[in-house]
Symmetry: C2
Subunit: 489 residues, 2 copies
């Protein structure tokens, strides 16, 4: 079989953040590397129809939301006659951004001498993959190591058939060139909430249908509660404890969604123009022909060795990113990619991140950010801790940012959780327009095991929002000295 | 003399950031504390007519600048009919912000049981200060310790008399309720450059007159050059190597400023509507009657012991902030205040910041931020170092922020300087809209002595601007491995 095959040390299947990182790292480690991706543009869901379009439209839509708050603007001295949002122009700006980033991926791979194929990949056996590039003949690649980074796909729901017209996936929602009047979302996870914010800002009446009794269940309770209050204050409607039974378009073209309120056991019909299904994602294995490895798609995920990220029985086949274990985050995919290549080559130049605390951000406005443990986790684990919580309304920089200060009804705050024995930072939770960047300091503290006293030694820029982080830490230290107050053992 | 005196452990004179911190810290340490400030509103130059109004107007004026770039906005999907700036409304919003912060100072002092006097303070002898509150009788305070935190005043220039009408101080500039057509600034330091940005954004033709051949001489050369290019691209005119000989108003009410070009030794007359004098600040000692301590205002600064911050011969009199030694920064004032109180009481609850690297930010847009050593300092000190520099145009988060991405002709970048022997971070220099907050991570790294490898262990939020910090650090590590490249010994 080797005769007609192109031979590589490493073949990476999929070129999202995980695959891209694996391919560049492998090549930098001196391995002959190829990468294959089924799309014309590189970057995977993350770049093409996931995080990047979502973050771009969030930023744009909050800017537009701000312009519409004319009274608040006039108070600050800015008079606007009118502001309109043109979704088609916004989409074409977004398309440019995506193309720019996708080309950057392409240039980086080229610079790193990674051979790039655009087409499908199917296992023939454990060392051979058949590649079919768009409109070209198939050929065989033989590789010593294979990294599978094919990503994930939307989970479908029986009775709610995604037609990408009225019943749509999140990827489709992010490429809509119009703003639906009534936009309903099935699923109150991070993806659903962020897309809810975009369309709510642009003027849609947004409803979120969530089968559980609360949204954001992985957050610290205080933060989750602030998130819900925030989105409600901005006009988003939540239907909790509610299941979607089925959805269908009537003769007038209206979408009728039959809902079941779980506690009341009562069904009713909800009307909307567009329904987005966002109830989760599953590993994407279609077309890979893993049956040729003697495996079934069903038990695939259980066949991954957590330590080596290898497929059980196939130590040379590595899985990284959404297709593998762990949260479906780009940061995790990249970390796994580095680990996968390090397990292949000891010359891999990058130091492995050892931190097991990926920071999380919900990019609403203000942003919700957290890293490390929640209060609930510490209480359950009986870890004695002390808290320091300060409001940004007491922060000088915050007060000089009039747009931040007046944009929301929910108070921006930062809360730190400090281990009462070691004084190490265990968790940081915050609500702030700039949480995404403020979280970096917190991530450094939590992942490097810094203590509260370390943070007190740092001189932060003045005036800056970051000073509230230090202030919260100082408060946590002070609170520990008051017997019984805020120290929960 | 004690008979009629009110007795305190600590009397703090001045309630800017330094005085405020000294007073609250002293009281928290269990000392009976009073504070006296000559203004009705607390907060000093910093809060009333310095950093806070400057940062607020900068933020507002850049927002307005963005709204005026209609073509760029339309490309992104936002259509605006017209945008106007109302300086009177902006000033009244600013006034509210200042009052809010000033009241916060007042509440904090009250919460900490600090007795507050609003009036003048004059030394009678080394333990007695006479206080005259507005419209009330004078009385005497006796204090074991006295903290002088009276701040600084604008340095005047012969031939250029500040009348606060056409020839004005920075404090007056920040309270102008109109936008002058031609706004000229004498002095190219941080204060001058920031106020230049405000009025340039609001439509003034701004000219900066600087007697030296370059602006921002304390910056890393690469950063200083970016700063000048940036402001020039936004329309600010620089007249370097130029001295102001005198300024006078003619019969038509126009201001004529006679300039001397130093290299050409040629004088010419420059016309403008307002001239702001910003050539530096000096310790403010008026009315303190330090002659009663046997001292002269002239040699006052040389009479301060650098270690204890005490007045030589008077170990119980401490000096903090602008009136003392070191750069005139609020962060430094607060640090000195903590040190001063710690030298008085060992029970002072806050850990001393030991870092000698105050981070610096020039709040133009994008912001210019730096902490630690410049390349020039390392070269002069013959410290072997390696650099990593990355452009934010390669950062994914940056690309999702369309307003950041397209707002400037100067490329945003971050440059890290790493010690080639210890791998510790020695300096971080950056140009970015969010430099003020990004700098916090860099400050943590530099002041805690973290190594490049420590930073590589951190998982930063994804996508975030902070990832470029890590990427620059990774590049600095990689550059060290290329013999001779970027390693300057």
């Amino acid at each position: 079989m080797t005769d007609n095959s192109v031979v590589y040390d490493v073949l990476v299947i999929g070129c999202g953040p995980g695959g891209f990182t694996a391919a560049t790292q492998a090549s930098q480690a001196g391995l002959r590397t190829a990468c294959v991706d089924r799309r014309v543009s590189l970057g995977g869901t993350y770049l093409i129809d996931g995080a990047v379009p979502s973050k771009t439209l969030l930023d744009e839509s909050y800017f537009y939301r701000q312009l519409r708050q004319q009274e608040a603007m006039e108070k600050r001295g800015v008079k606007l006659l009118s502001a309109k949002f043109d979704m088609q122009a916004a989409q074409s700006a977004l398309k440019q951004t995506i193309e720019g980033l996708s080309n950057m991926y392409e240039r980086e791979l080229c610079k790193n001498s990674v051979t790039m194929y655009k087409g499908t990949a199917a296992f023939k056996d454990s060392h051979h993959v058949e590649i079919e590039q768009h409109g070209m003949d198939r050929f065989m690649v033989e590789a010593k190591y294979i990294v599978v980074a094919t990503g994930s796909a939307v989970i479908q729901c029986p009775g709610v058939v995604i037609d990408e017209d009225k019943i749509i996936s999140p990827g489709r929602a992010l490429s809509l060139d119009y703003v639906p009047s009534r936009f309903t979302i099935m699923g109150g996870g991070t993806i659903g909430l962020e897309i809810a914010c975009i369309f709510n800002n642009l003027g849609s009446q947004v409803t979120i249908i969530e089968s559980q009794g609360e949204v954001c269940q992985n957050m610290d309770h205080e933060l989750a509660s602030a998130t819900k209050t925030l989105l409600q204050s901005q006009g988003v409607i939540f239907l909790l404890d509610t299941r979607v039974k089925f959805a269908e378009t009537d003769v007038a073209g209206q979408l009728n969604v039959t809902l079941l309120n779980k506690p009341l056991k009562k069904a009713h019909v909800h009307h909307c123009d567009v329904l987005m299904v966002s109830i989760g994602r599953r590993p994407l294995l279609e077309g890979l022909h893993i049956s040729n490895l003697g495996l079934d798609e069903r038990d695939f995920v259980e066949k991954i060795d957590k330590q080596s990220l290898s497929l059980l029985g196939y130590p040379h086949i590595k899985l990284v990113g959404d297709v593998a274990i762990g949260p479906m985050l780009a940061a995790k995919a990249e970390k796994q990619a580095v680990r996968a290549i390090q397990s292949i080559s000891s010359t891999c130049p990058i130091v492995t991140p050892t931190c097991s605390f990926p920071p999380n951000v919900l990019y609403c406005q203000p942003q919700i950010g957290w890293v490390g443990y929640t209060e609930e986790e510490l209480i359950n684990a009986r870890v004695p801790y002390q808290t320091g919580k300060v409001f940004f309304s007491e922060n000088i920089r915050y007060n000089t940012l009039l747009s931040q200060k007046e944009s929301t009804t929910v108070s921006s705050f930062i809360k730190v959780l400090v281990d009462s024995h070691t004084m190490k930072l265990l968790g940081v939770h915050m609500v702030n327009d700039d949480a995404n960047e403020l979280l970096s300091q917190a991530s450094m503290a939590v992942s490097l095991g810094l203590t509260a006293h370390d943070i007190c030694k740092v001189t932060f820029p003045h005036p800056s929002l970051s000073e509230s982080f230090k202030q919260a830490v100082q408060l946590a230290i002070a609170n520990g000295k008051l017997p019984g107050v805020n120290v929960r053992e």
